[in-house]
Amino acid sequence: MAKTILTVDDSTTVRQMVSFTLTGAGYNVVEAKDGQDALTKLGQPPSMVLTDLNMPTMDGIGLIKRLRAHPAFKYIPIVVLTTESETTKKQEARAAGATAWIVKPFRPEQLLSVVQKVLG
């Protein structure tokens, strides 16, 4: 059965490219435009979450903390996909419970490699 990945980003083009890359590799993809929207789409726990940091309503750090606080999502791999490369922000994401960090832009094979590594 195909694994489901939740992608969270306020940019339509980024969500598009993540979906295109992952569905092409056989994954199911659920899109959300910010952290709050993502929380409403967690009816079925995904295999993995891919989230941006800088988003309106609820940013990536906030989303990670909310997910890690929930027993059902405590151990789900959460990968940050962001334009940021600043160390303190990276440390903040790590402390919140992120699994990995990708700086945009990604190449499709890079993203797939990370997903495959994280999902095993």
Binding site: S11, T13, Q16, F20, T23, A100, W101, V103, F106, R107
Partner: protein, 634 residues
């Protein structure tokens, strides 16, 4: 005119009257502009610009009031952007704010079409792979043509066939010779029969009798003549048949020899064509694989480039935030330097956006080019079914038809040979029955000879002549037996030769090879049909994809407007910062702490760390591409 001035300065703070400071050093140069706005003379009748700084109207206010006012205006300018700059900044902010939405209008549809383009490309790849696999099943053709070459000399058995018919002929000649011997014996027997009748008559006159000896000899003589006559006819027929068989074999051998050259040439040509086609299909498959790899690579480039919309959007948001801060208290003093820094950031963003647009255009062009090549190579795969050069299939079909024609002639010759062998076999069977009768005659002769001997013994010395006749008959019987044995031996040899002939002609594989060839020709025709259908489907898919790409390229061509917007904003911002001094104020330096992207930090550092003093702007191509090692696992 005052109202116009104030409209742009609604956020400017007016300093208290006693706080005239000396920090208006930067603003002093701007004073004449405001003063010009506030105290502009009416336009001169000549249309030339009115002279600024007309003091005559202010004379009533007094010199002191005028100086205070000057100091106040100068101080005010030191802490707020002046009118033109404000308007320019507003225009820049407006353009930058609109940029993201307008750029998204072009980027999002490309992303939407990308999935469709990629799916079409994969479908075309699947279709062309199917065609290539279909056309790569050459082993059957190669095997069949190999069989043709193996069987082209009749399996190497014509030497045996020739030996067999020669053996038949030799034995037929020997049989005829043996029968001629028996005929001579029969003539001698006739003479003995006459002598027997003479002696029988003499002894009948003296009162003795040989009973039916003379009659028996006469009857046997008649029987012998009849049987030998039939046997001789059979032997003659056998000889003639064997001669015909020999002639047929020689004819077949000649036919095969005549056909051998063309057959070998045509078959070798067919093998070469099949081998060449195999190489061509393999080469085309590799080229096609390369083209589809090119498409995948271009798709990857587009995936990367489309993300720069978001990256540039965020960079522009940061620029907007920095420009909006200029309206806040305490930040206007850094106007020049802030504008200069943000101009550098905007130039970087503009260059980044331009590169991403070019990358997308190049990638779309690459996809278009690769799919065009796929169309060409697919045509090469199936051998120009649109009627160009003779395709592989048509060529092989002609070769197979030619080979089949030759093999059909060989098969006909083999068929005649088989008929000849059958005729010989039949004649030999007929002769075998006849010879059995000849053997019986010999036995009968022996009986008569014995009878005559006994009767001659009864007659005593008077039966001496009869004794001689009896011995002669006995001699004839032995000779007859020997002759029939000889005939039987030769017939046996003939039967052996006929079996050898039948085996040799039955070993010809022409029919089997012909059947294989016909089957292969039918299979090739079926493959050709399937390949052509596959090609048509692939061509339709390619045409659809070409149209889709063309529309996407045309649609994306309109992004020039977005580039112009960024370029215009960049030029305006650069224009505002021309006079700015690079002092590296704390306020500007502190902006560095707000950067989230490495590219932004690089631009900042190039201005304040490594750029030469006389350089106004950093190099336009500041790094904004993918960082190395942009992945980290925690």
């Amino acid at each position: 005119m005052l109202l116009e001035s104030n409209a742009g300065l609604d956020r400017a703070e007016f300093p208290p009257a006693d706080s005239v400071g000396a920090q208006g050093a930067q603003g002093i140069s701007r004073q004449p502009r405001v003063l010009g706005v506030l105290f502009a003379s009416p336009p001169s009748p000549s249309g030339l610009p009115a002279q600024r700084g007309s003091w005559r109207l202010l004379l009533p206010f007094g010199r002191r009031a005028l100086l205070s006012l000057k100091r106040w205006v100068g101080d005010w300018h030191a802490r707020a952007p002046i009118l033109e700059e404000t308007k320019a900044l507003r225009t820049i902010q407006h353009d930058l704010a609109e940029f993201s939405g307008s750029a998204e209008k072009f980027f999002v549809p490309v992303g939407e079409r990308l999935a469709d383009l990629h799916a079409r490309s994969r479908e075309i790849a699947r279709q062309t792979t199917q065609i290539a696999e279909l056309l790569s099943q050459d082993e059957r053709s190669l095997a069949v043509l190999g069989e043709v070459l193996n069987a082209r000399d009749g399996g190497g058995q014509h030497g045996e066939v020739l030996a067999a018919v020669q053996g038949i002929q030799e034995n037929a000649v020997a049989v005829q010779g043996a029968i001629a011997t028996v005929v001579r014996l029969v003539n001698t027997f006739d003479v003995l029969g006459i002598m027997t009748r003479i002696e029988s008559s003499r002894f009948e006159a003296e009162g003795a009798s040989f009973g039916g000896l003379a009659q028996a000899v006469s009857a046997l003589s008649q029987q012998i003549r009849e049987k030998i006559g039939t046997t001789a006819e059979s032997a003659a027929v056998l000889l003639e048949t064997s001669r015909q068989a020999t002639a047929e074999v020689r004819h077949v051998e000649q036919t095969r020899q005549e056909n051998l050259g063309p057959l070998t040439r045509q078959t070798s040509l067919g093998l070469a064509k099949v081998g060449d086609h195999r190489n061509r299909v393999s080469h085309a498959s590799k080229l096609l694989a390369g083209r589809f790899d090119g498409v995948s690579s271009a798709v990857g480039d587009i995936v990367t480039a489309l993300q720069f919309h978001d990256i540039v959007r965020q960079q522009i948001e940061h620029i907007l935030e920095a420009l909006q801060l200029l309206d806040s208290p305490g930040h206007s003093a850094n106007l020049g330097e802030t504008v200069r820094l943000q101009a550098a950031q905007l130039e970087n963003s503009r260059a980044t956006f331009q590169r991403s647009v070019e990358q997308i255009r190049n990638a779309l062009g690459k996809i278009e080019s690769n799919i065009g090549e796929v169309a060409v190579e697919s045509g090469h795969l199936v051998g120009s079914p649109d009627g160009g050069d003779v395709s592989f299939f048509a060529g092989v079909e002609a070769d197979l038809a030619s080979i089949l024609g030759i093999l059909d002639r060989n098969a006909q010759a083999d068929s005649h040979l088989a008929e000849a062998a059958g005729s010989v076999h039949q004649r030999v069977s007929e002769m075998s029955g006849t010879i059995a009768g000849v053997q019986v005659i010999g036995i009968e002769m022996q009986r008569i000879a014995l009878n005559a001997t006994i009767q001659a013994a009864h007659l005593g010395p008077a039966g001496a002549a009869l004794e001689i006749v009896a011995q002669a008959i006995q001699g004839l019987a032995r000779d007859s037996e020997a002759a029939s044995d000889t005939i039987e031996d030769h017939l046996s040899n003939t039967r052996t030769a006929v079996r050898a002939l039948e085996q040799a002609t039955g070993g010809s594989r022409s029919d089997e090879v012909i059947a294989l060839l016909r089957k292969n020709a039918a299979a090739l025709k079926s493959v050709q049909g399937e390949a052509n259908e596959g090609y048509m489907r692939a061509s339709d898919s390619i045409a659809g994809m070409k149209q889709q790409i063309g529309e996407t390229i045309a649609m994306f061509g309109s992004t020039d407007g977005c580039l112009e917007t960024l370029g215009r904003a960049n030029e305006m911002l650069r224009g505002l910062s021309i006079d700015a001094q690079r002092t590296g104020s704390q306020g500007v330096r502190s902006v560095a702490a707000t950067y989230t992207m490495q590219s932004e930090r690089a631009v900042h550092e190039s201005l304040y760390a490594t750029a030469p003093r006389n350089q106004d702007f950093p190099p336009a191509s500041a790094p904004a591409a993918m960082e190395e090692d942009n992945v980290e696992f925690f």
